[in-house]
Subunit: 376 residues, 2 copies
DNA sequence: TTGTATGCGTTATCAT
DNA sequence: ATGATAACGCATACAA
């Protein structure tokens, strides 16, 4: 579909650089006013304008008004490139991900954008699907973003964090499993505990055959969710949980395929929990095409409470993960003071009950219309 | 959930600028080699390094090798900010959208990223949900992207295109309805004809009561699809099509709501066509919660063939719109020569048959497993 | 509180 | 084919 980008004579180290001799011909920029113009118009020096722009307290009220008027009159907008050069800092925040979980990415992105609204920062999107280290290095060296937000499972990689640090780029590692060495400081929630709570809740709904569609094996976050499942299973005296676990890769197709395997078991699971919502949607689709009613015959649970959870039929009961808040917090943390941090960053999960789970006990009912939230 | 960004004393024109006095303390950049360092190491002048970097033909082969060695030895990477300042051009391409159709956005984005792979360009994501003109002007003036790709319905707005032009920023207007004045030059396909073909195909499948969930009224693109529907209805002698049209806003919820209205009609439509896939997913969900079998009792068709089309149960039959190719082409066109354009940019739609449509004729069968594509 | 000189890393101009 | 010097637009150090 897409032709290979046959770009003739690339240099090894400067891959992708192309001749730019024709730029000038194409780009006829309208002459934008500079600080000099504003200074002249206001009858002051450049530095005063600069002070005004950077909100220096050392500008008198009268001067402030004069400068403001001149700026408004000329329609002056500070040149971000020049500021970046002088400040040795750009106004870019990068969202770096491997494309494995779009629901998560979408939620984080929206939280970041919300945080950046009204600031002078822009969001750069950088997928990193292979050659992670080399790709990230080239990206940060070239564009020098002010901050980088790494999504799982990339956030788990020390080498990537080291690359950011070496480049002097602040780095937020989202959803990373907390180690002994750094118990705090990053945006993460208790995946293991959340999954254990979810499975425990299923037990209380009367479910005992609980299948799990795991996330990518390389992802520590996904592994934590699997451990949470095993915790809850063990709590209820089921040690043979492993036989009910099928590993997926967070994609819809892998969820459907995993469901096909799980639904062949006998006795069949009464509920299948997927480690993200997209795989859960795959489970629902597989069940539907096998003629198995959801939630009548099979209950399905997702994880993440991302956009797709509300778009399946029936809508997905899912564990809410505050990706948007984490994105907001991360963007603020790597923004170098350009964004106010969230006041109270406690990233707690919560069950969101929609319609994809049916209790196996008479006295418990789940609502199929409005989602219901159970905070833990 | 998110606190208002209470950022004290904002200036009218410079909203969002904050004090940056503490940057230096936080950012201790490792001393990156500059062109001066490379020049010294290679024993030549800066300008020669510059020529090498910009692929100037005026560099001898011997010199080329020397410079290349020095660059490799020092690990030199050109500073994009300094280049941007000198060249008066950044290395950013912006994707500007209003968030109304995520499927479309995702596909365009992936096409753009594919195009930009290996180039020195980065993708900036800029939602513009309100204050479109002011927001775009502020963004473009501040960050001066090399190019801007406008998604529908923003792409239809002349004022936004004018803002880009005034700022000297190349602008691609995706999916815009071609007018008399500019019949060509932009990435668009024949929405009206595609929808007419889709509805015509439904007629040939034996459907006669065909409901339509329209897109946002303000969107000319959506309006074109509606006209295509009316074309096909008229072709088959149905002038009362209007009664079977409900307007949505491209969201899942609006699709579900529209379906509820359409399913109350008597006689009920045998098929509902939605103007995008997300609304079609809403139709499926509404049908499911009303106990109406899809495709057994009600067929459903989407438009766009975006990611969600494959994730519904049953999977959606949908009209493929080559958003990814359009994104690729647009990115190339606004890249200022940094990306090779697609060789043969003909943006054609195609029906993708999955499982959400059941023919009402015995001799026609649709496959429910592998999607089948009918090129027009 | 305001102004002057200089630097940020690269490219363009004009020379050789 | 290569080099010296002046932009590019803004911020900082230091002076006034």
């Amino acid at each position: 579909m897409f032709p290979a980008n046959a770009s003739g004579s690339d240099q090894t180290l400067l891959g992708g650089l192309r001749s730019i001799s024709h730029y000038r011909a194409m780009t006829v920029l309208s002459p934008r006013p500079t600080m000099d113009d504003v200074a002249r118009a206001a009858g002051v020096s450049k530095k005063t304008i600069s002070r005004f722009i950077n909100n220096s307290p050392d500008v008198s009220t009268a001067m402030r008004a004069r400068v403001e008027a001149a700026i408004a009159a000329l329609g002056f907008v500070p040149n971000a490139q020049a500021r970046a050069l002088a400040l040795r800092r750009t106004f870019l925040v990068a969202l770096v991900h491997d494309g494995s979980d779009r629901g998560m990415r979408e939620a984080v992105e929206s939280g970041m954008l919300h945080a950046m609204e009204g600031s002078e920062l822009a969001l750069v999107l950088r997928p990193l699907e292979r050659d992670e280290a080399a790709g990230l290095r080239a990206f940060v060296d070239r564009h020098m973003p002010t901050g980088v937000v790494l999504l799982p499972p990339l956030s788990e990689r020390e080498d990537l964090a080291a690359i950011c640090e070496a480049a002097g780029v602040r780095c937020a590692r989202l959803g990373r499993v907390r180690g002994e060495h750094d118990p705090t400081g990053n945006e993460a929630c208790d995946d293991r505990g959340a999954m254990a709570a979810l499975v425990g809740w299923l037990f209380r709904q009367g479910h005992h055959r609980i299948g799990l569609v795991g996330g990518p094996e390389a992802s520590l976050t996904a592994r934590q969710r699997e451990l949470g499942y095993l915790d809850a299973m063990a709590d209820h005296g089921f040690d043979r949980g492993l036989s009910l676990i099928v590993t997926g890769d967070y994609s819809f197709a892998s969820g459907a395929e995993a469901a096909r395997l799980l639904l062949e078991l006998s006795p069949r699971p009464s509920v299948i929990v997927a480690c993200n919502d997209e795989m859960a949607a795959g489970v629902i689709a597989a069940a539907a095409s096998a003629g198995i009613a959801v939630p009548g015959t099979l209950s399905v649970v997702g994880f993440g409470d991302t956009a797709i959870a509300a778009m399946t039929a029936p809508p997905l009961t899912s564990m809410h993960v505050p990706w948007a808040e984490m994105g907001h917090d991360a963007a603020a943390r790597v923004s170098g003071g350009l964004i106010d941090p969230l006041p109270d960053p406690s990233f707690e999960t919560a069950m969101v009950l929609r319609g994809s789970v049916q209790a196996k006990l008479d006295y418990v009912r789940t609502s199929a219309s409005m989602p219901e939230v159970m905070r833990r």
